[in-house]
């Protein structure tokens, strides 16, 4: 009976949540495109040690398979996939397919080099070997600025192509500071909400929830208006004589912090509030009556009791902040883009599902790790806490 009641929700979650996640994660290792048109070539390349150029037999196989695939959509897809690895590979493959040397015309490899000298480089062949599929670590490694060399070693992609580790670090850094700001701003508000008279508390609660109900896009663009060079914030600071030149508050990190903190503040305030609401005012009174200075009573009696709220709030805010992309996209500069911006880029602009899936997978793993840590912390606190 109970199972039947929750079945619609479970089904909904399975179809709209779990299945897409599983598919996206699979995309990060799924690599079928090159194998689809060159099954024999890739199989032969698997035996190649990657030091010298592959034997001519491999070239013969590839010429035959390219000939068979010429003009089909599969060829274009495989060319795109190889282009992710080496820029220009798409045109190389399509050009080669158009100008295929006749089979049995002497050394097939030399014939290919004659079509394009790049066939004489090992890295060209290594790219095909890496894309052999059906499952590869290419996208996951790429998401960590790593690649597999022709001989199979894992190495850095090099400083000029490395980007994702830096972006990931930036994402965590922004998430960390947003969480700190939310906690610093939200804790006193939550305390006020939990202790004020119900009339004031209700009013405050509306003020907290009102932005919560407003569209994220509206709130973000509102900050654009407020923070711009001639906006009200600069106007006010200039008006009271604090600054002479308008501050640069937008299209940089300051704007990103301000906007994300504003958007995520309710996620900090609400769990804190619910925990604080359950703490009677008498424990503080008891601590003071027993001889603790109010500051000491706060630190030793009140603060520890709010730890479940702090943990829940920081976790919610941090994890939500990691996934932000609209706000940095609208308010941040080029150096303020977060990992999600790149996931969106690969999904919407280049339809590189493998890369989008790999970056998403890394974010998911970090989130899951954080949640596991939270579970340990909350579990260790024991009864009477959460």
């Amino acid at each position: 009976m109970a199972g039947a009641l929750v079945a619609p929700l479970l089904l909904f979650l399975a179809v709209n949540f779990l299945l897409p996640i599983a598919l996206m994660l699979f995309r990060s290792v799924d690599d079928p495109d090159v194998r689809a048109i060159m099954p024999q070539t890739t199989a032969a390349l698997a035996m190649w040690d990657g030091r010298d150029l592959p034997p001519a037999t491999v070239a013969t196989l590839m010429i035959g398979e390219l000939d068979a695939a010429r003009g089909g959509a599969d060829l274009s897809r495989a060319a795109n996939r190889l282009n992710y690895d080496i820029n220009g590979f798409r045109s190389l493959l399509l050009k080669t397919a158009r100008n295929l040397p006749a089979p049995g015309d002497g050394d097939a490899l030399q014939a290919l080099v004659a079509v394009d000298p790049r066939w004489g480089q090992t890295k060209t062949w290594a790219a095909i070997k890496r894309a052999a599929g059906p499952l590869t670590g290419f996208f996951l490694l790429g998401a960590l600025d790593l690649k597999q060399s022709a001989s199979g070693d894992i190495q850095s992609v090099g400083a000029e192509r490395a980007i994702f580790v830096k972006v990931l670090g930036r994402t965590l850094w922004i998430g960390f500071w947003v969480t700190v700001l939310c906690l610093a701003l939200g804790y006193p508000v939550a305390y006020l909400l939990a202790t004020a008279s119900s009339r004031i508390a209700n009013l405050l609660m509306i003020l907290v929830l009102l932005p919560f109900w407003t569209s994220l896009l509206v709130r973000t663009t509102a900050w654009v208006v407020l923070l711009q060079k001639d906006g009200p914030v600069n106007g006010l600071l200039h008006g009271i004589g604090l600054i002479d030149e308008p501050l640069r508050l937008i299209f940089n990190r300051v704007g990103v912090y301000v906007a994300i903190t504003h958007v995520l503040l309710p996620f900090m305030i609400l769990p804190l509030y619910s925990v604080m609401k359950g703490i009677g005012p008498t424990t503080m009174r008891a601590a003071v009556s027993l001889g603790a200075h109010p500051f000491l009573a706060f630190a030793r009696v009140y603060l520890p009791q709010t730890v479940p709220g702090i943990t829940a709030g920081t976790l919610l805010v941090f994890i939500s902040a990691l996934g932000y992309y609209v706000t940095p996209a609208l308010i941040g500069g080029a150096d303020d883009q977060m990992l999600s911006t790149f996931i969106a880029f690969y999904t919407n602009e280049t339809t590189n599902w493998g890369m989008a899936g790999a970056l998403g997978g890394i974010l998911l793993v970090i989130t899951a790790l954080l949640y596991a840590v939270y579970g340990r912390l909350a579990g260790r606190a024991g009864p009477g806490w959460a």
Binding site: A286, A287, V288, S289, L290, G291, P383, W385
Partner: protein, 390 residues
């Protein structure tokens, strides 16, 4: 009717505590007033002296100002007017954490994130007492409240009674001059409450600490206190020992609030020294002790305790003998309660301390009820009661 209570002369305090109060007042309320809105007084002109080592209870209904008075003593509220002194010094400018007062709250107010031992050790640790010394004194305090071996538990793992014992231990472990208890047993069931009352009394006797106790439960107040201050509408109605409060209530409110009391409304017909004659509404004349009445003709409310009334007396002289009809008889085990209707039409309850004798009475039987004038106190007139008195 045999009675063990000493029959003292009117309203002269004879208890040793009352004498001690004048000698060395430890806690002094000097004409203390408290108003939250600047208009109505939550506490009105409370004047009170408590001797060192005394157990004083503030008793009253909710909203009578007893808790506000306690909070002012603790330092969580400031008097609007008047002064509070501790050991002769005004505490007007002493914040609560420097008053050296232990406090026990109704909802225990234990710290849920600390163990029992950490809870009890808290007042010592904030005073910078050394770790070994804390452990030693916590052990002693745990033994005092008979919770030995439970120091490592969390408060949530204890029963309500055990939690309140921890709260009591925490309030006395640092040897405070004064312990305040704000309805500490209010959340417990009757049996546990009575058991803890005895333990608190025991702790008071053992430690010799001064205790101010707030409750709305009159039997709790009678059991525990050296003296009871009865609060109503922010003011103290009467302060005295349990015996004084119960046997010689000074106002109708005290008579009605403490224990059970038969009430007869009437007007003073004659007055002569320590006796007066009151004509009760409905053609009935009663001799009483004038306590809080005006001249002849003024309204008064008489108070007679149900256990001071005798049914069909066979011997002795009785100041008041009134015909009555039995309407109901309720058996309570150790006593029985007979409800009569007096000749004047008033409902009247009599407590029969030996219920086996009660079997002689049948509902509807006509009897004579008798009581002494000294057990019948003419007090300030209450507003006309809602119960019908024809």
């Amino acid at each position: 009717m045999p009675r063990s209570v000493p029959r003292a002369t009117q309203d002269i305090p004879t208890e040793p505590a009352a004498v001690a109060e004048r000698a060395t007042p430890f806690v002094e309320f000097l004409d203390v007033c408290k108003s939250y809105d600047g208009d109505t007084l939550a506490v009105a002109h409370v004047d009170l002296r408590i001797a060192k080592g005394e157990f004083v209870t503030f008793l009253g209904p909710s909203g009578s100002g007893k808790t506000t008075s306690l909070m002012m003593l603790a330092g969580f509220e400031a008097p609007t007017d008047g002064d509070i002194r501790l050991a002769g010094r005004s505490v007007r400018h002493t914040p609560p954490h420097q008053r050296n007062i232990g406090m026990v709250f109704q909802n225990y107010a234990l710290f849920p994130h600390m163990t029992v031992a950490q809870n009890i050790g808290f007042p010592l640790s904030v005073r910078g007492v050394k770790r070994e010394e804390i452990a030693r004194r916590v052990e002693r305090a745990l033994a005092l409240v008979r919770l030995d071996g439970l120091g490592h538990r969390r408060p949530s793992e204890l029963s309500g009674g055990q939690q309140q014992r921890v709260a009591v231990a925490r309030a006395v472990v640092f040897d405070p001059d004064l312990v305040l208890m704000d309805e500490p047993l209010g959340a417990l069931d009757k049996q546990l409450r009575e058991q803890l009352q005895l333990e608190i009394k025991h702790i008071h006797a053992n430690l010799g600490v001064t205790i101010v106790y707030v409750t709305h439960d009159q039997s709790e107040a009678l059991t525990l206190s050296d003296r009871i201050a009865v609060f109503k509408d922010g003011a103290i109605q009467q302060i005295g020992s349990a015996v004084e409060i119960y046997e010689r209530p000074a106002t109708s409110f005290v008579a009605q609030f403490i224990g059970e009391s038969n009430r007869l409304d009437g007007a003073v017909e004659a007055r002569d020294g320590d006796r007066c004659v009151v004509r009760v509404d409905g053609a009935l004349t009663v001799r009483a002790v004038p306590v809080a009445v005006g001249d002849v003709g003024s309204r008064t409310t008489l108070s007679i305790r149900p256990e001071h009334v005798v049914i069909d007396p066979t011997d002795g002289h009785w100041d008041n003998v009134v015909p009555a009809r039995l309407e109901n008889l309720i058996y309570h085990g150790d006593h029985a309660r007979a409800q009569f209707r007096l000749a004047g039409g008033h409902a009247f309850t009599v407590k029969i301390s030996n219920p086996r004798h009660a079997g002689a009475f049948a509902v509807g039987v006509d009897v004579r009820l008798a009581w002494r004038a000294t057990d019948c106190r003419a007090l300030d007139p209450l507003a006309p009661s809602t119960t019908p008195s024809s």
